[in-house]
Every structure is written in C-alpha cells, then in structure tokens.
Amino acid sequence: MKAGVFAYARPSSLAEVFDLLEQCGDEAKILAGGQSLIASLNMRLAAPAMLIDINGLTDLAGIIVSGDMVRIGALTRHRSVERSVEVATHLPLIHQAMPYVAHAAIRNRGTFGGSIAFADPAAELPACSVVLDATFRIAGKSGERSVPARQFFKGLYETDIQAGEVLLGGEFRALQPGYRSAFLELARRHGDYAIVGVAAHGKFEGGRFSDVSLAFFGIGAIPVLTVSTAAALEGNPYSPDTVAAVQAAVSTDLEPYAYGDIYHGAATKLHLARVLAGRIVNALTAA
C-alpha cells in the first residue's frame, strides 16, 4: 500500500523541532531512520499529518567515549554502531546484538534512537539498554532530562518520552573488569523480530556467577528484567542445578508478562525463554 498524504519538514536545529512539535501536537511524527515509521505509513497503520525529519540534526549522530561512559547519539545508524570499535571494546553486549538488528540494508538507515523511541517489544536495543542499566537523554522546550532505561519503557510502544520531547541518545557505563555479556535470540529468519531473545551481563569469575542481569524481549510488552534469575545465579557455579534454578526463575518472572503473537502462543514463548535461559548461562561462562 501507499502512505497517506502528509506534510514534511526538515528542521536544522532542536529549537525548530520543538516549535514544530508544539504547533502540530499529536499530528506530527518524528522521522529518523524511518525503518519502522515508513513501513507503518505504507501500511496505513499510522497517518500523521506531518513528518518532522530530524536527519539534518547531525549533532545527534555519533559515538563518544569519555571516561568510563559511552554515549550513543539518537541519530547514530545501526551500521555505525555495528562497526564501531569503541562499542566492540566497551559495550560488547551491544556489539553482539547488532547483527540481530534487522538486515544489512535496514541497518544502513535505521537509528539507535529510533529503535529505543519506537520501543518495539521484540527489538534488541531496548533489552540491551535495560540489562546494561543505561540512561536516556531526552530534551524538550523546557530543557533536558535523564531517564534510566529501566524506567523508560512503559508499555507496548509506550515510553517516558512526553509530548514535545525528543530522544537525544543513550549513556552506557563501559565494560568493567570481570564483567562479560552474552546475547541470544530466536527468530523465524535471521534479522527478523525475535520470537524471544535474551541479553545478559554480569560476572563469572573463579567459576562462580555474580551480579548477573538478564532481560528477555519478544515475550512481554516491554523488555523484562528477570530479578529472580540474579538470585538463582549469585555465588553459584555453572552446574545443572544452577541452570535448572535459573530456568525455574525465568518461568516465575516471565509468566505475568508473557503474551502470544500471531505465530507463537504465550506457552511456546515461555518454553523458548527457558531454553534460551539455559543457553545464555552457558554462553556467559564462555564469553
């Protein structure tokens, strides 16, 4: 299908974006990479009166390392994140996740901020941000604010970004000594949205796990941080008992969130989440 009629503006500063958002209210959508937005326009799932193309705001693109913080600007293309030496060194979880973010041609256009702000429940980067306890920077006419990733995702395609605001980027703590990451996802085709996936980050030293966070995606309306798995892993070695405990914890934690989609029921997704839980614990020992 074809998109409906809309007006288009390409502001060259954030101040202009805020003015346009104020004028148009709910009728406007921000266009970054467009890899979800234009698809939904073509399918007439969305019909905004105005698109505000922020691709001219080049200050919002880029990856900056300062001290032990890594900042990824909202307009940074997935391809740049995928190829970034800084990301590979300091944020190995995101480096591992990038090949799962859609396909090469989509990664060339799609942006980090678009993925976070769109908040697809089956998308990879929201879950990575939650596991890594990242912070998002958001700006509006009245100034800037920070929101922890763990409080940013509110519901299905719903985030903490308020009317008139724009996501500026994410801030991550660089990999600390002793920590490691692992990422796994099941999809019908490589690069498609996940049936279910998991991002993990924590320590495995002297044969024992500690401070491990797991977040599952594709199973709840938002990325789900499974708090009970941390307790099941804390201080324990890699063993069949530990894996069984983690899998049981995953069931308990995910059950209230699990939803079915048109291909897979909630029970299937819960089963697959347990399978991935076993694999991710193993992957953490090898990472």
């Binding site: 009629v5 500063s13 346009l20 326009l41």
Partner: protein, 164 residues
C-alpha cells in the same frame, strides 16, 4: 529549515545522471524510480521492508527503497540494478546467477544482486555463513536460496583470487 509542505523539488543523481523532479512528500524512493524515471528494475514486493526486492544503493550503501522517502534522496547519489548492470560492475555476479540457476521467476533478483554486490565490495572473503547472514534480508519465494548462496560464494572466491 525547509518549510513544511507536501510537494518538493528534488535533484539527485541516478545511475550517474542528474535528475530533477517535483514530487509528493509521500512518494517513496522506489515509486519515484519506477513511476517518475521508468526504472522498473527495482521491484516492490511487500512495501514494508521485509522482502528486499526494492533494494537500491544510496550514497554507496544498500537501503530498502520502500522505506526511504524520495525527497530524502535529494542531493544523493542513487544506483539501481540498471546502472549496476550497464556499468559491468556486477557482470561476474550476474553470470554466476545464470550459471548456477540462482533465479527462477526473477522477481527478487535485482535486490539479491545489489545486496550481494555490497558483500562482495565489503567482504569478498565472506564465509558461507556470513553470506547467508548478509543475504537474509532478501526473500526468494521460488525458494532458490541454495543456488543463490552458491552463486555469491563462487563470485566471492573469484574476486579474492583476482585480488591475490
């Protein structure tokens, strides 16, 4: 700032030729190429980014032509299968597709060729797994993946030999 409006004048380079048109904001790049310029080699399959039949190159990188507005290509350099064919840049790839029966109905083929061409440029020493991962964004509904991967692999090996 560009003032908000719903039609725009754009000028871009398509297959090395400068073109200018007045277009609607809602028109995506592949409709522009097909309807305005008559370049019908870029196909529209799903029109929501899933199938890859609309793959074209913008400023040297492959993109989904259905997920980019034509006006976003203002000032850009666009290459389509017509340009890549005429330049001879992918002649070896096209020959391999033919020899390996890597196309049946041919609908996906322009997108397949352009996606494969990017891999050949960036990573001609790609393993079979890497070829599969790179080509995963392009659907072939005649289920010809095995021969497509083989054709791409043959050309990868050939290009590596050429460089050696």
């Amino acid at each position: 700032m560009t003032p908000a409006q719903d039609t725009f004048d754009i000028t871009l380079t398509v297959n090395g030729v400068s073109v200018s048109r007045r277009i609607a904001a809602r028109q995506h790049l592949v409709d522009f190429l097909r309807e305005e310029l008559g370049l019908t080699g870029s196909h529209l399959g799903c029109e929501h980014g899933v199938c890859g039949a609309c793959t074209v190159k913008v400023n040297g990188e492959i993109v989904r032509g259905c997920l980019m507005l034509a006006l976003q290509a203002d000032g850009a350099s666009v290459e389509t299968i017509e340009g890549l064919s005429e330049s001879g840049a992918i002649a070896d790839l096209q020959r391999a597709f033919h020899e390996r029966n890597a196309l049946q109905c041919g609908f996906c083929t322009p997108g397949m060729l352009i996606a494969a061409a990017e891999l050949l440029e960036c990573k001609p020493d790609a393993t079979r797994e890497e070829i599969r991962a790179h080509m995963a964004g392009n659907y072939c509904r005649c289920t010809g993946y095995q021969s497509i991967v083989e054709a791409v692999e043959v050309v990868c090996r050939g290009r590596v030999r050429q460089r050696a």
